[in-house]
């Protein structure tokens, strides 16, 4: 029998205007409520915008923009930071071109942030034409290397190696361990990279270095600890469990104190352990313990049949874990991991107690420079909050795009 029933599909959901009429203006009291609410929102928005544009005094920010960005980093050495940003731009673009969807959102967000800063239509002292051009040049780098990546179509392995080399380069460029890197030019010793002690580092740069370092280092440690806790080898299992539970049972601020004070006691007398490095280690082990539990949650969600199927085709346990179990587990826990990265990013403000001038610390020292700035605390903290919000939101947005690209929840 032929199917003769050509019934109509149900009506589509109404457009925005119908929605507003139906839900906000459908009776006289709803109309009044809507108008009152709109009025309150309007007044608040008006007051906020008025404050931002006319009443607030942004002079602490506009007078010391570089302080907020890089702290006391010597101004004649700033090119080292600039080159580091450019290296990252190039690699972002290259990875985008080769890995496409997986990196795309991160590259676009990164380039977008640089571009927005470059094109802010407000006259600011530190945003000189040169700075704006340099920022735009970075955006250009991303696009150009994206195009190169698409054309050369090299293997992802080489891009990974390039990233490793780049991170090493950046470390050499801006890290303090390198004392006065110099070369001999016809008998004269020329110092190319003068020593910049970490004590003068500060601002957004330190915040980003600590959180990026913490994220990059804690991730693999967390993966190992997660597998360790599931291991059948008693020693490995007990060690992993003990490590995770101990670290999770202690507040981050305590760990930071411990690393800044107690570590010094155990080290041989006379050896100096860089303050920033101590903070980074503290943040890393703290984050690794939480990371381990998040990843273990993902590992446990993978059905046993996956492991059995992999065993049945003769894979060894390393292949089973790296090719079958871990990729699926990580996809499941992307939202949790990103949440952890965002809180790690914000937790870096705690290193202020070690005397490290990250973004918040710089804000406080700017406020303390003069009595009139003390009156402008609100502006300084609002600016810092805005920076934190932009970067946190960019991370969250990129991650949700990554989930879409990976088809999480769909297959």
């Amino acid at each position: 029998m032929a199917i003769t029933n050509h019934s109509q599909p149900p009506p589509r959901p109404p457009g925005p205007i119908q929605w507003v009429l139906k839900n906000l203006f459908n009776s006289w009291y709803n109309t009044i409520l809507t108008i009152i609410s709109l009025g309150i929102i309007g007044v608040l928005l008006y007051a906020l915008i008025q404050w931002i544009l006319f009443f607030a005094d942004w002079s602490p920010v506009t007078e010391f923009p570089l302080l907020f960005m890089v702290g006391q980093y010597p101004r004649d050495q700033l090119w080292r930071v600039g080159i580091s940003v450019s290296i990252i731009s190039v690699l972002m673009g290259l990875s985008w071109g080769i890995w496409r969807g997986l990196i795309q959102s991160f590259a676009i967000t990164f380039g977008g942030l640089l571009g927005i800063v470059a094109l802010i239509p407000v006259q600011m002292d530190f945003l000189t034409v040169e700075v704006r051009l340099l920022l735009l040049m970075n955006v250009g780098c991303i696009l150009l290397s994206y195009w190169i990546g698409r054309v050369i179509k090299t293997s992802g392995l080489y891009v990974s190696i390039a990233w490793a080399i780049a991170i090493l380069l950046i470390v050499l460029l801006i890290l303090p361990g390198l004392n006065n890197f110099s070369i001999n030019i016809s008998g004269n010793e020329v110092i190319i990279l003068p020593h910049v002690p970490t004590t003068v580092w500060g601002g957004l740069m330190v915040t980003i270095l600590l959180s990026a370092g913490g994220i990059i280092l804690s991730f693999p440690i967390g993966v190992l600890l997660a597998f360790g806790r599931r291991s059948t080898l008693p020693v490995v299992k007990i060690f992993s469990t003990f490590f995770i539970e101990t670290i999770r049972g202690v507040p981050l601020i305590t760990i930071l104190f411990m690393f800044s004070l107690i570590l010094q006691v155990f080290l041989p007398i006379g050896s100096r352990f860089d303050r920033l490095l101590r903070a980074l280690i503290g943040i890393t082990i703290f984050s690794a313990a939480y990371m381990a539990e998040n990843i273990r949650g993902g590992l446990q969600a993978i059905p046993l049949g996956q492991e059995e199927a992999a065993k049945a085709v003769g894979m060894n346990s390393l292949q089973i874990n790296t090719l079958i179990i871990l990729p699926q587990a990580l996809r499941l826990v992307i939202p949790t991991i990103v949440g952890q990265f965002i809180s790690l990013f914000k937790d870096t403000t705690l290193v202020i107690i070690l005397g490290i001038n990250e973004l918040l610390g710089i804000g406080r020292s700017v406020i303390n420079t003069s009595p009139e700035f003390v009156q402008l605390q609100l502006e300084v903290y609002a600016f810092i909050a805005l920076l934190f919000w932009i970067i946190s939101y960019a991370m969250s947005y990129s991650a949700s795009q990554l989930e879409t690209a990976l088809g999480v929840g769909k297959r």
């Binding site: 059905p303 049949g305 996956q306 059995e308 199927a309 992999a310 065993k311 049945a312 085709v313 003769g314 894979m315 060894n316 292949q319 090719l323 079958i324 990729p327 699926q328 996809r331 088809g407 769909k410 297959r411």
Partner: protein, 252 residues
Amino acid sequence: MSDQNTNEQPIIICRDVNKWFDDFQALRGISMDVYKGEVVVIFGPSGSGKSTFIRCINRLEEHQQGTIIVDGIELSHDTRNVEKVRMETGMVFQLFNLFPHKTVLENITLAPIRVRKWPKKKAEEIAMQLLERVGIPEQAEKFPAALSGGQQQRVAIARALAMQPKIMLFDEPTSALDPEMIKEVLDVMIELAKSGMTMLVVTHEMGFAKSVADRMFFFDAGLIVEGGTPEQIFTNPQEDRTKKFLAQILTH
């Protein structure tokens, strides 16, 4: 067929295999020889130990007493031996267990590339031949979730065959499928049986057993109650339990 091969060494030798899950004894002294090219069907009520038994043959379960020798390699705690046996033994599961984060083609080529160390191109060529053989070459680039149950199980069969195993184990391969999909999977299995593959099949598909099995074993409570050719089992079962069970599943 077993009669003609008596002078040949069996490819699977099981002697007095015992297996406990805590206090529950799942296998009670199972002994069975399987010769090359034989198709053996194992059936019985749930909890009778039939799945446990074939999972012991590629050591997804460890037997605690007795001997299992597969293709001349004895299964023991030596993981090298276990991996060698698994390379020669394909397995198809009730719930397919395809890798959901890999495409159909990647599911099939993964083990040949990583375990057999074949070049990617060779592995893909063979994978495509196998997909032709199971009748779904057009699905190669899709992810498993986009396939029907019958198609997924056929991919699972192709994945197991890609390692070019000497033995194929089927653990209730059609139990999770809709009736109309059972046939497409059975057709593939029948074709495989006729090509001379050594197969151990846990199934209740008695039509399949009738048409291709060389021998059948009825399991109950961890024991082999009765074994023989399909003709013996269907027309002249010796044991009451076998008769009762066959009566139950054949009346439907």
